[in-house]
């Protein structure tokens, strides 16, 4: 029955799962070993000072585990704790994990991102932490450890972490995931509702949601919201680092320049999709995953090859 399909498809999804549930669902059963677990109480001193609740893990779960038997390091941001935002401790845990990966060389590091970016309550420390994470991503990559970013959560992946995600080897998203630097609310509050109506969520998603990001080449994979599918998307990338060298960056530069040339004057995603050759762009957001991929994959292959 159609009905059963509906609920099963989202049963093991990431969208509304906690960080711990996501890690457990991603990794081989029972294989996760947490680093700095809650009992160690490595919490934010700044939130305490502001008289705000702290979390035992400062909103990020990090550790080692196995994915289909292969050794991986994992970090998962907790969406409910301060919007998954990056504070000093939170950031240092992630930086440490990436440096540990650069040293121990697992088959990959998987970052389950779900964040608005800098934790404003720790403003400067948060921003610097993100810069440190970015540098640590590059160190892991230099050690040939692939870093894989996943954006499938309700907060999306915003601010500096949006930039960090695109510094990784691979990005995989779900349709519900979002990836951007500035969030719609920030743009609206600074530039006005005419520039970006943050309440128009259809506009938000076709501007920064998974489908659009996949179509224009900002995401390497697009999967349905299910732990099994995210796992399946990540698996082939383990042990397969993307070179970060002059050739690869020259190619990336050409792709990005071409995107500006082709779509730089487009007013809306619908216009971009139409120029990409989508026949009924207005229908794309409503298409189910399979129908969307049937259209998107051939287009992507021809335009980002």
């Amino acid at each position: 029955m159609e009905a059963a399909g509906v609920s099963n498809a989202t049963d093991d999804g990431f969208y509304e799962a906690t960080a711990r549930q996501r890690v457990a669902a991603l990794l081989d059963k029972g294989s996760f070993h947490e680093i700095l677990p809650p009992a160690q109480r490595v919490v934010s001193p700044h939130l305490k000072e502001l008289d705000l609740p702290v979390a035992f893990d400062d909103g990020i779960v990090i550790g080692e585990g196995r994915l289909d038997g292969r050794k991986v390091f994992v970090a998962a941001q907790e969406p409910a704790f301060m919007g998954g935002s990056v504070g000093e401790v939170h950031g240092a845990k992630l930086t440490g994990l990436l440096d540990r990966a650069a040293r121990d060389r697992p088959d990959g590091v998987v970052l389950l991102l779900d964040t608005g970016g800098v934790r404003l309550h720790e403003a400067n420390a948060g921003l610097i932490a993100i810069s440190e994470i970015q540098r640590a991503v590059f160190r892991a990559r230099a050690a040939a450890v692939p870093v894989i970013a996943v954006s499938a959560g309700s907060n999306g992946c915003f601010g500096g972490i949006g930039i960090v995600a695109r510094c990784c080897d691979y990005v995989v998203m779900t349709e519900e995931g979002r990836l951007s630097v500035s969030g719609p609310e920030v743009i609206e509050s600074q530039k006005g509702v005419e520039e970006f109506d943050a309440r128009d969520r259809a506009l938000v998603w076709r501007t920064m949601g998974g489908k659009h990001r996949y179509l224009i080449g900002e995401a390497d994979g697009l999967v349905q919201d299910s732990a099994a599918r995210i796992r399946a998307a990540v698996l082939p990338w383990l042990g397969t680092p993307v070179p970060l060298d002059l050739d690869s960056l020259t190619q990336e530069h050409a792709r990005l320049a071409l995107r500006l040339e082709q779509f730089g004057d487009a007013q809306d995603a619908l216009e971009i999709w139409s120029r990409q050759g989508v026949k009924a762009p207005q229908d794309l957001p409503g298409l189910d995953h399979e129908a969307f991929m049937n259209i998107a994959v051939p287009l992507r292959n021809s335009s980002h090859a």
Binding site: E2, A3, V6, S7, T10, D11, Y15, E16, S154, E175, E176, R199, D200, R201, A202, L203, W205, G209, K211, P285, G286, D288
Partner: protein, 556 residues
């Protein structure tokens, strides 16, 4: 004694008709046709309105005569003043601007929602004189008694040149308003989104309508009944499980009305999962009087809900409703026909009402009143009260009646409506739901109302459902027992902690209080995985793509 009959009446019996004629005559200087230009609307209103007129500005839950309302606020107070406003909803700022400008003076209404705080201020400043705060059915009734409008400003989707109106799926209050006005020689002015050669169906015949204005912008519609399943909590799911297993199943509740909130949405969303597992399909929840709430889609699709009559529509549900004509009431044009008066009546005579509230006292009286705000009632009091005029039998009605009669010692067999209040013991920010004294009392004093604004009276309530359990209040023999039954499900609120523990255990032994475990429900199994739809997107999928949610609810 002999009665002296007058030989022949010398009195004039058609003053209303003559007055109507002179109003129409004055309007001829503005327009010779029924169709009036939008730019002439203020002049039209000044021509047809007279000081002290009773006026209805159609404001429903969904559809608003917003353009006409704004025009009314622009008339010259020297010409038009002291109006007596008789309308169900005070929802737009223009609805209150006319009081500030002294165009209007007196107000009889039902519900004020977001404008409640401003309304309270205007009352304090003596700019609004409140006649009474009604329920919907009361106010509609008074249109046919002593509050008949002289002029009604209504809203419709489209009109033809003869003034025939198509309301679209949001017919809502229109029939009641127009019927009262048109058949008492009043003036009916309709704002429409478009004027067409042929309207899809006639909801209001043209000869009941005096004037038609095409508004510059389509009338405002608010999606107020859309509840995003993503926001439903485990506690709400736990309570929904108790309602289904502890009330719907044993009473076999088939005809009912759901309030509009996340609590009842949780019930709707676990019918296809939890309800199905209990084998309740085709046994419970078959006929409802409620707006087409998107959270009902899975229950309809999975075969629980068979028939729904609606007070109004809901934005985005138009195609879905049109695609399920066996379930909804549909015009020959394919779109829904709603009618708030009939829906309220249908709900009044249903077997069960369930809804949520903000405060409950120890007699079981409940109120959604908040200090410094005059919010009014809307439809809940008529849904949530025993229909004492009811005579036909049904299993739940007779069972509840029997249970009540037993404690009252009455020998006359009689039924009773199930009236259920479903609340968490604390609301957000640790506001207790159970209180010794309702804020409604304070509100009565502050605004010198006739009565505390109680939404549902305690003696109408048969059941309370909280996360702690179900209290079968109608089975309590004494006031003292009833109070302990209420305290017994009031959790850790001060009212709950002041319970007599032994007495509460005693009530539990008698089944008057039931805990989740008494119903065979493990609270830890109350998870979101029970929801047939966990997101708006899931609802779209259930609807086969027919539900088109407003943009603000999307995440794709």
């Amino acid at each position: 004694m002999t009665q002296a009959f007058p030989k022949k009446s010398t009195r004039q019996w058609n003053t209303l008709a003559t007055n109507q004629a002179s109003r129409l005559q004055r309007a001829r200087s503005i327009s010779l046709n029924k169709v009036v230009a939008a730019t002439d609307t203020v002049a039209l209103l000044e021509a047809v309105l007279e000081p002290l007129d009773r006026v209805c500005v159609e404001g429903n839950n969904q559809k608003h005569a917003d353009f006409l309302s704004q025009c009314l606020a622009k008339v010259d107070p020297a010409r038009v003043h002291g109006l007596h406003i008789v309308q169900s909803n005070i929802a737009l700022s223009a609805h209150l601007d006319i009081f500030e400008k002294k165009i209007a003076r007196k107000l009889d209404f039902c519900y004020s929602g977001d404008q409640g705080i401003r309304l309270a201020k205007l009352v304090k400043q003596d700019l609004v004189e409140i006649g009474a705060i009604h329920t919907y059915l009361e106010l509609y009734s008074r249109y046919f008694v002593d509050l008949t409008p002289r002029v009604s400003l209504i809203a419709a989707q489209s009109a033809d040149a003869d003034g025939n109106l198509y309301t679209g799926p949001n017919t809502e209050d229109t029939p009641a308003v127009v019927e009262g006005t048109a058949f008492k020689n009043g003036i009916v002015i309709a704002q429409v989104n478009e004027i067409v050669d042929k309207i899809p169906r006639i909801d209001v015949p043209g000869d009941w309508v005096s004037f038609v204005v095409q508004a510059p912008k389509a009338h405002y519609i608010e999606p107020i009944f859309t509840r995003d399943p993503a926001l439903i909590t485990e506690i709400q799911i736990l309570m929904a499980m108790m309602v289904i297993k502890g009330l719907y199943a044993p009473y076999e509740v088939s005809r009912l009305n759901h309030g509009i909130g996340f609590d009842t949405a949780a019930i709707e969303l676990i019918l296809p999962t939890f309800g199905e597992s209990l084998g309740l399909r085709e046994k419970v929840c078959q006929y409802m009087s409620v707006n087409p709430c998107p959270t009902l889609i899975p229950a309809i699709e999975s075969g629980f809900v068979k028939g729904i009559h609606c007070a109004g529509s809901e934005l985005g549900m138009e195609d879905y409703v049109a695609g399920r004509p066996d379930v909804f009431f549909i015009g020959h044009d394919g779109s829904m026909r709603s009618n708030r008066a009939f829906c309220q009546l249908a709900g009044h005579y249903a077997d069960l009402f369930i809804g949520s509230t903000l405060q409950i006292d120890l007699e079981g009286n409940s109120s959604t009143a908040t200090l410094n705000r005059i919010a009014g009632f809307g439809g809940a009091p008529n849904f949530g009260s025993d229909a004492r005029g009811r005579r036909h039998g049904s299993k739940p009605w007779l069972k509840a009646g029997q249970e009540s009669a037993r404690v009252l010692g009455s020998t006359m067999p009689r039924g009773r409506k199930l009236v259920v209040q479903m609340v968490e013991t604390f609301r957000e920010k640790m506001q207790p739901t159970f209180v010794e004294r309702l804020d409604a009392w304070q509100l009565m004093e502050d605004f010198r109302l006739d009565l505390p604004p109680v939404m549902i009276y305690g003696d109408d309530v048969t059941h309370l459902v909280t996360e702690e359990g179900i209290a079968h209040l109608h089975r309590c023999a004494t006031a003292r027992e009833r109070e302990q039954a209420i305290r017994g499900v009031a959790g850790y609120t001060a009212a709950g902690m002041a319970r007599d523990r032994r007495e509460v255990e005693n009530l539990r032994d008698r089944g008057i209080i039931q805990r989740p475990e008494d119903l065979g429900i493990d609270p830890r199994l109350a998870t979101r995985s029970l929801l047939a739809a966990k997101s708006i997107k899931d609802l779209v999928q259930w609807s086969g793509g027919l539900y088109n949610p407003p943009k603000r609810f999307r995440n794709w």
